[in-house]
């Protein structure tokens, strides 16, 4: 554990003279030395534009970038490397999917089904698409425990459903959704399924073929990689039919005044200069992710303690903890989430408070916001204990 923690320099810092206990990993993870070294090495020694020039450094930069594509393909078990589209993050990936899929496949009266516990990034692009095309947005609700109401799927799916958009793991509830089951139902209805994997890629072994999804989107910065990087994976058969969202450098084949033709996948969707230093960091980030293992004892301990804490309401509950990742959102009776987060901050504990980019879910549970503690494998049981005792103290200060 000591060696692992040494790989993440930020774990060694203090805030307000206290050791930092970083429990905001679901918002952004920390970066290991291997990732910052990769970024630094490319920025300082291998900077050149990608896919264009014939000179030596350009070749090296392009090789590093394309090696990341191979690493990501293997990591998510995608059938083909050309199906891996690099973006600036999951939000970009989802907007790209919404625009291009929408142009190709969505017409007036078509339906898109989204998940009630979804991140705004997996809601708003679909709302925008529906408005643009005159399509209908439908919502797959969650029950009191936070589980998706799969019993409602048959009545929500229709012959007009074109796409189902769900999170692999909710960023608020920390529950693993039964993606394969939803994919089967969607496909049986003739629809496609897109999975927001921003949290799933961190906590689950992702195999896009086993999940049988049609799109899978995620960010680099939540999986120990570089900020400003992301992936949209999609089935070739769909991506081939989808028009590009952005036009410009490297996404073209020939440009004529009469008509421009586009480059083949994946360049068709990667217009403009890409993230030369950031995207190659997927290679060390994936290595890091593979080398770490979440201590399930911590997940179980925090879950049990929060469930039993007086006045505390834990969202995203399940009798089967293998379906719960260490992301814990709570509301405390008589204590505002912002007050709790401010006090915890002064104790050195970094947690998230507010709506967590999931306002409809806050409304669903009748709260103005929540407090979220999200753990990574580099967090220790001692830190978990410190968080719990700090939380108790904060609650008692506010009572």
């Amino acid at each position: 554990m000591c060696d692992l923690r040494n790989e993440f320099p930020q774990l060694g810092r203090t805030v307000y003279g206290k050791p930092l206990v970083y429990l905001d990993n679901a918002a952004t993870s920390l970066r290991p030395r291997s990732v910052t070294a990769c970024w630094d090495e490319i920025s300082s020694m291998r900077t050149a534009n990608l896919h264009r020039a014939v000179h030596r450094v350009a070749t090296e930069a392009t090789e590093a970038y394309e090696a990341a594509r191979d690493a990501v393909r293997e990591f998510i078990n995608a059938p083909e490397r050309e199906e891996v589209i690099f973006t600036s993050g999951a939000t970009h990936s989802l907007n790209l999917a919404a625009w291009s899929f929408g142009e190709a496949f969505i017409g007036e009266g078509d339906e898109i089904l989204v998940d009630e516990a979804g991140h705004h990034s997996n809601i708003v692009p679909w709302q925008m698409l529906c408005r643009r095309k005159g399509a209908v947005l439908k919502v797959l609700q969650v029950d009191e425990s936070g589980a998706l109401r799969l019993d409602l799927l048959p009545s929500l799916l229709s012959s007009r459903t074109r796409l189902v958009c769900v999170a692999h793991v909710s960023n608020v509830l920390g529950l693993v959704n039964p993606v394969r089951e939803i994919a089967d139902a969607a496909h049986a209805a003739g629809a496609r399924i897109l999975v927001d994997g921003a949290q799933g890629i961190v906590h689950q072994k992702v195999d896009v073929q086993a999940l049988d999804c049609d799109f899978y989107a995620f960010s680099g910065h939540k999986m120990y990689g570089a900020p400003g990087t992301g992936v949209l994976w999609g089935r070739r058969a769909l991506l081939e039919q989808m028009p590009p969202m952005f036009g410009g450098g490297e996404m073209i084949q020939t440009v004529r005044w009469e008509e421009t033709t586009y480059a083949p996948l994946p360049q068709k969707f990667e217009a403009g200069t890409q993230n030369i230093s950031g995207t190659p960091c997927f290679v060390p980030a994936i290595e890091c992710l593979r080398s770490m293992q979440q201590d399930e004892c911590i997940t179980e301990h925090v879950y049990r303690e929060l469930s039993a804490m007086p006045g505390v309401r834990l969202f995203g509950t399940t009798p089967d903890l293998s379906r719960k990742v260490p992301v814990f959102s709570i509301a405390v009776e008589g204590a505002h989430h912002e007050d709790l987060a401010l006090i915890l901050d002064k104790m050195g504990v970094a947690v998230r408070s507010g709506q967590m980019c999931a306002e409809p879910l806050m409304d669903r549970f009748g709260v103005t916001g929540m407090l979220r503690a999200s753990f990574a494998p580099y967090n220790t049981m001692q830190e978990a204990e410190y968080f719990l005792s700090s939380l108790r103290k904060a609650i008692s200060m506010l009572k």
């Binding site: 204590a335 505002h336 007050d339 987060a341 401010l342 006090i343």
Partner: protein, 136 residues
């Protein structure tokens, strides 16, 4: 007590607490002590944007001075509001507009509260100033 004297009094009170948690305890006590607003006054037009927590500010002009009353659903924010109300309520618009609000910097509240909160604080100040400008 002049506006400046009142500010100095708060700075002196606040400096008694060295630890941040003690400062928070103090703000929590102030927040609990603030009367707040009746539910019917917690309206959209009194709501201040920019806070993670919700803040409502009400302003009335009485005998040439502005009387502020305010509320929040978060208690530390309510404590900060209580400080602001204590300083600026009962002052003339001219007095408020002549002030540079720098006493909040002296309290260290702007830097040490979370950015969203600092934005809320900035919004609160902007609202107090604009109320003063409207009533000048």
């Amino acid at each position: 007590m002049t506006l400046k004297e009142k500010q100095q009094e708060i700075i002196d009170d606040f400096s008694l607490y060295e630890e941040w948690l003690d400062k928070y305890e103090y703000l929590i006590e102030l927040g609990k002590g603030l009367e707040g607003l009746p539910e019917e006054k917690k309206t959209e037009d009194r709501l201040i944007k920019g806070c993670q927590s919700r803040v409502w500010l009400d302003c009335e002009k009485r005998d040439g001075v502005l009387v502020f009353s305010a509320d929040s659903d978060a208690i530390i924010t309510k404590g900060i509001i209580s400080l602001l109300v204590g300083v600026y309520s009962g002052r003339t618009p001219q007095e408020i507009l002549a002030d540079d609000f720098s006493f909040l910097d002296a309290l260290g509240l702007k830097e040490n509260l979370s950015p969203t909160r600092a934005n809320g604080l900035v919004s609160m100040i902007a609202t107090i100033r604009s109320k003063a400008a409207e009533n000048e």
